[in-house]
Amino acid sequence: MTSDQAEPTLPSSSLPPIKRDGLLALFRQMLLIRRVEELAARAYTQRKILGFCHLYIGQESVAVGAAAACIPEDHWVTGYREHGQAMAKGVSARALMAELYGKATGASHGLGGSMHIFDASVNFMGGYGIVGAHVPLAAGVAWGLKQRKTGGVAVCFFGDGAAHQGAFFEALCLAQLYSLPVVFICENNYYAMGTSIDRQSYLTDMSLRGRGVGMVHEQFQAFDVEVVRDRVGAAVEWARSGKGPVILEAVTYRFRGHSMSDPAKYRKEGELEQKKLTDPLLITEHRLRDTFAVTDAELEALRAGVDAEAEDAVQFAEESPIPDPSRLYDYIYAPNGS
């Protein structure tokens, strides 16, 4: 396109309005992610989970809303803060927790850890630890999905910090040039590790990175899971219809530190308390009560079920075997024809 052409904008999604049971299911999924991560944090302090552990608490509406907008054929690629996306895409709490524990029953058999969760059965193509480097991979996944005419779309999650990497920008250029079916979702949680968005970037809306390559772009407030579902829904429809990629910025907020070792003392006073008023769980709970007349008893039953599933994941991880040392070299090279 040339500079005198009008920038296209993303229409509304054609997804039907969400109903009571649908919203309850999204609320349950967000709550389960929250509970699983709270238990992971506890296990980390007990030194049962080691290494890096980056929590998604506060951002659950993004992954869960996006999953509600996708079809199973859509493939997800994400960064290292990926517990929420993994579970939203269908990785079980057990497989996730066992991986954090470094157990043979984990999603990556204990070879990956917190940052490298994979599950081909639900098209979850991994968490990656080099910030921004996975964004070109998503363009390549989209290339494969397009050439193989699968009808699937690649969805790539990354943080505001990744939007400064060259790999990220090159991926946008290539995706737009080749009109690839990929949706880039920047989860702007205000912090790249400890550096706030206004201290790391002149532009603070990372969807504007798409403007320079001619990509449809949109920023939206992502605390409401229904809004995420609608905006990601519109984006995947756009990409699926062959119109090319979309970049979204989902404005969100990270309630915890960068990783378990970070007390997050760099926040402005009162900021966290203010942001907790827009906790995705609170917003959706209010909607359930006010619009759908969900009762205390129903919510209590739901919470009890979530707690049991999260605790079950911990018990499963605790009781699972560690990886067999004799299998150390199993996955260095794939046997040909496998």
Binding site: L111, P136, L137, G140, Q147, L174, I332, N336
Partner: protein, 326 residues
Amino acid sequence: MPLIQMREALRQAMSEEMRRDPNVFLMGEEVAYYDGAYKVSQGMLAEFGPDRVVDTPISENGFAGLGVGAAMAGMRPIIEFMTWNFSLVAYDQIINSAARIYQMSAGTYKMPMVFRGANGHAENLGSQHSTAVDSLYAHFPGLKVVSPSTPYDAKGLLKSAIRDDNPVIFLESELMYGFKGEVPEEEYLIPIGKADIKRDGTDLVIVCWGKHVHTCLRAAEELAKQGISALVLDLRTIRPLDHEALFAAVAKTHRVVVVQEGFPYAGVGAEIIARIQESCFDLLDGPIVRVTNRDVPQPYATNLEKLVIITAERVIDAALTVVGRK
């Protein structure tokens, strides 16, 4: 048997595999409408179209990563670097992504892809266009590293590389693209990981690969005139190493020269020597001598360049040393 250039052999390998498997595609800078910077892909756009012979912008990091993702989604990408010097911009994608995803996903996602292009010095290309990357890639488990020396080997090995379910680093040479050799018309494959004796001999083995196989064959010819019989062992694959062929050549000759393009420090040559002394120290009649580039970045001026690169004279000198004639 038809006598064809190395570039034609490489082109035949890619074209045959693209006819055989619709998931194979070639991507890189100038590979399509320009016919390849070194004309390796000449005519392929006309046969396969722009979805399978794909020009990219100058963004090695981006399109190397795109290739990784495409491989995860069931494709078999051939990613061409115009020269391997430019792969350093994409080093992260090759090392952190291509080489590791199969293992860190516990075998969930295979990485059937080839990275290929011209490696090492050519003539007067200066500091930034003369790097031999052999050692930079051979270091990492998860990668296979192949470096052919003849059109016959290049075609058979590239076809195997494209069919391999692992990422293969395929090192070619600008100086060899016009090199001619016999290539049969019927289909054949050469397995990755198998060395080849390019000249038999009894007094010493010269271990080499890639374009310097020819340097070593010239040296062996000269040594023969002096009554010294040199076995020239072309490794063809640097990783995985053909230990069997290597140790057999050591057992036969008891004296070893290792020729490795690139810098000596922490190089593949050092690794080969370490493995020989670990496994067959008692078979050696004396110290192993290494021939590498001089330990300086490549200068531009012809006279200085010639001081830095490996020559037949330097290989002969090393051979005379290990056989005690110097």
